[in-house]
Symmetry: C2
Subunit: 144 residues, 2 copies
């Protein structure tokens, strides 16, 4: 067990499959979760990956995986929801975008399907956020 | 819009934060989903990331993000659940581990907490699978 922790693990390269196009332009103005008043957005899929969209339909609930390109990857502890009154917590117990691998999970609904793009929402990620995967939902979206 | 699709997007480096230790040793023997009879497993967290676990507790429902290191990243279409009778579908409409960025999402429960490791389950990922993030659930786990 100790061996597994001390051996240097191999790194992997993530290649974005698309990008978010949104009227949200600044991280400071974005809601923390999609359910907190986020707008719809376009998910533009790069040409190399476009055929992987086949089978998606309007009304589908999907999970969009993004890479928070503006995150601080050295952060291991945060005050949840940036509230200094809340106790410092490990980032794995929070949804902070600042974390070693700044991957965002966004449950959204497919609103429209265009050529190599999906209209989705609600989406709190800002314009230009790289998209790294799209998956069918694995669970019901929490309503609260 | 065309510009966004044709411009070469920046790639990113994923650094594993831990590894799965499981009695499941071969991908061919692993269930396709955790809910299909998968065992519990240990999630060993590397020392550099261990303090990011603070705040997690036994009984927590979490989502473990893995990197399917044996996946084929060139695959864009598959028969869902490897069933040749099912129509070929884009991988973004499926849970195939073969996809451009082979990230797995695993909803699990924390069973035990050890020094720099979590006992979790049910977990269908095989022994040695790199773990790249841990998050609180964003939704109720689907029961079917």
């Amino acid at each position: 067990m100790t061996e597994g922790r001390t051996r240097r693990a191999q790194n992997f390269e993530v290649r974005p499959i698309g990008v978010i196009r949104s009227k949200l332009k600044a991280r400071s103005k974005a809601p923390k979760q999609g359910s907190e008043g986020a707008p719809n957005a376009w998910l533009e899929v790069y040409r190399f990956a476009a055929q992987a969209l086949d089978g998606l339909a309007v009304g589908d609930e999907i999970i969009v995986l993004t890479w928070f390109h503006q995150a601080d990857r050295e952060t291991l502890k945060v005050h949840p929801r940036s509230d200094p009154k809340r106790r410092l917590s490990g980032v794995f117990a929070t949804r902070s975008p600042d974390r070693p691998n700044p991957i965002g999970l966004h449950p959204v609904t497919v609103q429209k399907i265009g050529k190599n793009r999906l209209r989705i929402g609600p989406m709190e990620a800002i314009d230009g956020t790289p998209v790294i995967d799209i998956k069918p939902v694995l669970c019901e979206i929490q309503k609260h």
